[in-house]
Every structure is written in C-alpha cells, then in structure tokens.
Point group: C2
Chain length 476, copies 2
C-alpha cells in the first residue's frame, strides 16, 4: 500500500521541476484533478509539470523510490477518467503540458518528432506548414495533447483511411516506472530487430510508463475532396453502401459516419447556424467523404455514381453532395455537433462500442430491442464511425426519470448494451479507453487468460504498481 508522501520527498519533487513546474493550492490543481464535464474528480499531493524528459525522469525516479503513485496527464480531455487520481491524495499528477517542443521535422521521411505536450492541433498545423497531413482528427483537437493521444490510442473520424494513433506513430521516448529513459525515437517504417516495445506503451493509458516524445507519420495532403450526406432506411443499408464505397473509392474513402435522425434535429436546435441538407426527416443519415491527391473530378464522379446507384437500389432515400466549402463545413458541423445534440435531447448513458462492421445492424437492432423492453420510453441516440464498426451508442433517458434514477440504472443499461456487444465479438471500449470508468466492466467480459496476460505485462514493467494505479486493470 502507498502512504501519503512525506514533506522531505515533496520538497525533492518540487526541486526536480522548479517553481514554474509545481501547483499546490486546491484552486490551482483543480483543473488537473477534474475531468471534462467534472465526471471524474480526485485529490493529488502535488501537480508536477516537468519541462523536459530529464525532469520527468527525475520525478518518476523520486516517486519510485518513495513509492508514490503517479497519474500521468497530457491534455486532460479523456472521457474515461484515465487522467484523474483517486480521492486519497496519495498520488501526484504528472502533467506533460509544458513539454511543447517540436524536436525535428524530416520532410523526406514524412515524419515529425514532437514532445508529449504538443497539442493535436499544433501537430496538424506543423504538418500543414511543410505541405503534409497529420490525419488524426478529434473533437478535442485544440486541447488534447499528443502524449494523451498516444496513451489512449486515439481514434476519431479518419481511422477508416489512416488508422488510429497506433498506426501513426513510428517511435517513442518513454520514461519507465523506475525513472530510466527508453529512447525508442526511431523514424523507421520497418524494424524487426527485436520486440516492438512502443506497442506496449501506446494505448496503455499511462499504466506502464510516461510517453515524453514521439516520431509521428505524415501523409501527402489531399488536394481533392468530395463530401456527401445520404439518408438511409437503416444500418443494414449503411453496411451495404460501405462495401460499395470501398469497392468504388478504395483508399480514397476517408470518412463514413453514421447518425440517427433525431440527433440532426437536436443538433440544429442546439447549435446556431446549422442547416439540415434535407427537407424531410429520415431515420438514419451517413456522412461520406473521399479525398485524393489528384483527380478531383473522378472522385466527385465516383461519389455521385455511388449515391445514384444507392438511390436506384433503395439503399439511399435521399442524398446531397457538398457543392462548396461552406456546404462541406455545414455537413461536418452537423456531425461534430452530435455531443451538443445529445445534451439538447436529454441526459443519456454513454457507450463507446465496436463490433465487426458486418455486425453493426444486428448490434443496433438487438441493443434497441433489449433496452426498449427493459426501459420503455428510452430514446435511442447513436452516432459514430460506422466504417470502423465503432458506434457511440448513447440512449437518452425518458423525460420523467430523475438524475438519481438515471445514475441508479446506468450500470444495468451498460450491462444490457455490453452483453450484446460481447455476444457479437465486440469491444466495450472502441476508442475512449478503459480509464477508471470501464475497468470493472472490462474485468467482467475479459477471459481469465487475457486478464492474467495483462497483469503479467503490468507486473513486469511496473512491479510496484505506481503508474496510474486503478486504471485499465486493478490489482488483484
């Protein structure tokens, strides 16, 4: 068990980062101790904000020596409480938000080496500066930071074409739980000289070490882009169209996003300036986008043919192609306003699930039916990256439920939805990670063998269990 740090250790920690790197008063530490929307809140002995890898290493070394738990944090935009300590005050928060250097740009290698505290938007801008694309695209891109994107293996709307964060990183620098620095900052497309250690740290939510820098992949900037909305009768039509879109557009297909109709109405009501592209209300809507380096006309023609054939087949009820940048931005704004739309519709219970793409229709049908049977009046509310088999399935509570009722029933609702997911071979956390939110739920669904393997890896790298304790997996 870990004790509260004593005064002498706290002093050495303060010295390790200097006065500019320490926050202590409850008011100053509040933004670090609290998650977005204040869903998660914890206590911390100190918030430490080292400005360099060496300072991170020194902090971790001191904490390891004194057995002080560390909660690593980057942009603190996570939705699963992965960056919040527990309430004991025994832990320190180590934020990489002052590590903001772009260390190297290698245009001919299509790589960018940045420190963990650089925001995603800054990485995107840095790539654009050298006429390249960094494709990761998230709602929180202005404030989330690369260290957190890596620690959570972030996803978003461009995964269909470019993969998630794991696919976008070639090398890492990591401070290990004993304070040593692992320099794995290689910018190589191929490297089979031993275990691919970076894979351990990507997606492990700070439980195995602290990522301090990374070599990121850059891509050519698409010059041609074609964007459409397609109203469809049901998720089965979405999957059929996805197959046709892949066959026709191949790698050009860069986004394939699904929304449920009520959410469009709520988005328009919630966010000023949004306009529906359709006069009628349809049950489901797809946002389809394709992009390429050249051949804008054939891209648009391909998308048009896809939509035309879909209309003939009855897979599509109505469709619009953006005829201008403004129209395209409006379509994306409707997609991006789904969180606001949901808040407008009422309080919900969130899920971040994935299933095989082919199982999406079965998932929606079965989860809808199971919830409607158990909780009549619950409003299905769903959007997400259907091209990746990933839906944010966030049913909104009936208006007559109190907040207490919602909280009391949330666990049961989770279980109903996740039972369907498990039965279809899916995941209960597609892109948000487990954090502290879904640890117990993951234990429920994972096999004993898988949990043992995870614990073996954790024990091998962090034998004292000091790195982000209680996240991803719990001590036995």
């Amino acid at each position: 068990m870990t004790a509260h740090p004593d005064a002498a250790v706290l002093d050495r920690l303060r010295q390790a980062v200097g006065p500019a790197g320490v926050l202590e008063s409850p008011a100053d530490t509040e933004p670090f101790r609290t998650s977005v929307g204040a869903t998660f809140r914890g206590a911390a002995a100190l918030v430490l904000r080292p400005a360099s890898t060496q300072e991170v290493a020194e902090v971790v070394r001191l904490c390891a020596e004194a057995r002080i738990p560390i909660v690593p944090q980057a942009g603190n935009t996570g939705l699963a409480g992965g960056a919040q300590p527990d309430g004991s005050g025994a832990a320190v928060i180590l934020s990489v938000d002052r590590m903001r250097k772009v260390r190297a740009v290698d245009v001919a290698n299509d790589t960018l080496t940045v420190e963990a505290g650089v925001t995603l938007a800054e990485v995107q801008a840095e790539a654009e500066r050298v006429n390249r694309l960094f494709p990761l695209t998230l709602a929180s891109e202005g404030s989330c930071r690369i260290g957190g994107n890596l620690a959570t293996n972030a996803g978003g709307t461009q995964v269909l074409r470019y993969g998630n964060m794991r696919a976008l990183a070639l090398g890492l620098e990591v401070v290990l739980p004993d304070g040593r620095i692992w320099d794995g900052l290689r910018g190589l497309r191929k490297d089979n000289a031993g275990y691919d250690l970076k894979q351990l740290f990507i997606g492990s939510e700070g439980t195995l070490g602290i990522i301090t820098a990374a070599v990121l992949r850059l891509f050519p900037r698409p010059r041609a882009i074609a964007t459409a909305f397609a109203a469809i009768p049901d998720p089965a039509a979405a999957i059929a169209l996805l197959g046709q879109a892949k066959a026709r557009l191949g790698d050009s297909l860069s986004a394939f996003e699904l929304m449920r109709a009520p959410s469009l109405t709520h988005a328009i009501a919630a966010v000023p300036g949004l306009v529906s592209p359709f006069v009628e209300a349809y049950p489901w809507v797809l946002l389809i986008e394709a992009s390429a380096q050249e051949g804008g006309e054939s891209l648009a023609a391909g998308l048009e043919t896809l939509l035309g054939e879909g209309l003939e087949d009855g897979l599509i009820l109505d469709a619009v192609i953006a005829a201008s940048g403004a129209q395209r931005r409006n379509l994306w704004a409707l997609r991006e306003a789904q969180a606001e739309a949901q808040a407008h519709a009422g309080k919900g219970v969130k899920h971040d699930i994935s299933v095989p793409v082919s199982a999406i229709p079965a998932f929606v049908e079965r989860a809808d039916a199971a919830l409607a049977t158990r909780f009549p009046g619950i409003l299905p509310f769903t959007f997400g990256h259907v091209g990746d088999g990933n839906l944010h399935y966030n049913p909104v509570m009936p208006a007559d439920w109190t907040e207490e009722q919602r909280r009391a029933r949330a666990g049961e609702i989770n279980r109903i939805v996740h039972d369907v997911v498990a039965d279809l071979g899916g995941s209960i956390s597609a892109e948000h990670g487990l954090g502290q939110l879904r640890v117990a739920e993951a234990e429920h669904y994972k096999s004993a063998v898988e949990l043992d393997l995870m614990r073996a890896v954790k024990a091998a790298l962090d034998p004292h269990g000091l790195m982000n304790p209680g996240k991803v997996l719990r001590a036995r």
Copy 2:
C-alpha cells in the same frame, strides 16, 4: 538448464498429436531441422505437427511441465534461422504446417480467419475468391505460412501502401508458454479495452507463445494498375522522386523498389526469358507501381507526368511504362530475380537494413565508401524497398576470395555496414527478424534499457525460457 527429454515424456508428446503428427527419423526431420539454403541446421528430439489448437496446447503444456524447449515453425522459409533448434537435441520442433483451416470469411467486415499453417498464397487466393485483396507479397509466398508471417512481422513489396503484417492482423489466437490458449480472435478495427496483447506476439518470432490462428484484414482489389521502370543517377534521385510520387499519387503508390544496375545484367543472365527494358546500362533503376479501384486513365496519366517531369529535372535518365500485362510481369520478374542475380554475381554478405527514408542516400554513400576502403574490389549489390527505407545491401565478394575468407570477414563487413546504419538511426533487421543470425549484433547496438525491457517482457510471459530459446534475445 534444460535436460534431454526422457522417454516417458516423449511418449506423452507422441500421444498428444497421434501418429500422423510425429516425425522422428533423421531423414524425416531433416527438412524441419534445416533452413532454406541449409544456412542453419539443428537437432530435435522430435518434430511434432499438431493438427489443432487443442493439440498445440497439449504439446506446450507437456513441454512446460517437463521443461522441454520448443522451437515453433510454420513454413520454414525464414532467412535468420529463427525456426531452427540448436545442435543439442534437447528441443522439440513444433510445426503448425498441418493447421490448414480457413475458419471464417466475413466479406462485409473485410476479414478472413485462418489457422497458422495456411500458406500466404492460399490466403491471397481465398481473398481473391471473395473479390478482395490480401496485400502481403513475398518471394516465398507459395510456401511461407501465416503463422510465420505473423511471428516475423513479414514485409515485402506492398508495405509502402498496406503496411507490414502487423498492420494486416486484427486478432490472434495464441498458445501461451504454459499451454493455456489466449483467444484474441477479434475482428475489430478499433479496440481500446485494455492492452493490445496481439502486438506482443506479432514479430516476436515464437519466443513468447505460438500463434495458432489469426483474423486478417482484406482490402478492395485494385482494378487499375500502372507500372514503370525509371533509370536514375543515384539514390538521392530516388528519394526526390519518391516525394513527388507520394504528392502526385498519394495512397495509389503501391510499390517503390530500387535496384542497382549490375544486378539487372546478372538477373537477365541468370533467369531465362527476362528482358531489359533499357538499351543502355544505367547505374540505378526504380520500379514504380500505382494501383487504384478506378480511374486507370488518370493513374497512368499521373505516372506519366511524374516520369516526364523527372526526365526534365534530370532526376530520371530514362523511363518505360508497361504497356501490357506481359511487360508489367517482365518488370516485376526483374525485381523478383534479384536473389538469383546475386547468386550469379558471386557470394555475398547479406544485410537487411532500414534507415529513415531521407537517410538512404547517405547510407549507400557511406557504406559503399567504408567497404571500398577496407576491402577494395568488393562489389556493391543492393536492392530493396526504398519507399520504406529498407534495403537489402548485399555486397558481393571479390572473385579471388575463398569461401573461408568470406566467412572470416563476414562479421567485420556486418559491423562496418551496421555501424553506418546505427549512426543514421536505422535498424539492422528491417524485415527478416533477428532469429539466431543477428541476436549478438542486436545486443551490440541496442541500449541496456531496451534489452532490459525486452528481457522483462520475455520473463513475464515465458519465465522458464522454453519458447524458441536463443532467438531474438539471449538469456543473461
């Protein structure tokens, strides 16, 4: 230390796989104990060929109990001795070559679930049967097997566009060193519910467990393809052209292969039916290929413009675009004949290196110069996947060297070449793995922290060191 297995244990192992699954006589086990080209040769107590995951698990459980080392094997086409035991005869070889089932095809999910003994060519054919592409392409595709492709994170000529084997697998089934089965056969594009355990096993060359089945990603089949040869003055021109090709062709760019001129002459001399596309002899040649679902005309036009501009700039000395399938096959045959060309040119010393793409010209220049200084008369011989920063840099010995001299100097030649690689931030094994061939060399170049991390992972999963001992890393 491991002892030779006693007779009772061997009997239980025989029973675990049945008579059809055991080979014992030296003649019968010879093909399993010996690598391609007989570079590596070992001894084995038995060769066991289980027909199912349950049988693999039973064999591994018995071996774990009796502390018998296991050397896993699939197609036995590796070039680094990763599938050969040592000479002691203490180990058993466990071949998955009888595990040949295609377990599932999910066309709408673009996935194929196969057992580890299915050959790469069979996977390619299965994909084609459902109008999909499995992109991994290797010289040994007719005989290498998926279990080996996964265990070595195989590369090849399509990595530029589709990634290596790690990027092509969504899920694994693995028999762990204690004989338990980990069922991670998920067909999900996104799954952040805990550590991504499959990453541990991919590329770890059978040292952490035995992969028995996998869920593989399928892709749309390109319908349009454009292939060219471009003669260039030097590797710097290749890298400049690569940047232009990416900007112009984007994801359509699917191969970007470099060859050194003498190798073309030798290929034509060695392989009947090959024809040079050029009248003149040029110092370096590129094979460039682009493919797409549609837009064959714009693809060909894009490639033509690329080559035309390169000729104007002086980056290209001469170029041909394949005007027919036969011409395209001839260009690829010239690329694929590089191994034969090398044998024709004389005995060499092989390297499978990668550096950042931007460092390719510096690598060639510095490695050439260092070798020429130390060993005048050595013939530079190089080909490879320059788009991935991966070269097979295999200098051919002067004609007056004896085989003994070649062998005696091979270590020094390796060290000269690998010192340049290390200095440029590269890898001494880009795609072939470490096997037993490059274990000592990897220890020389890797940091103590990295070796410790690798050993910690190994000890956590295989505490008795029974899985493919001596490969990838050695016991301390």
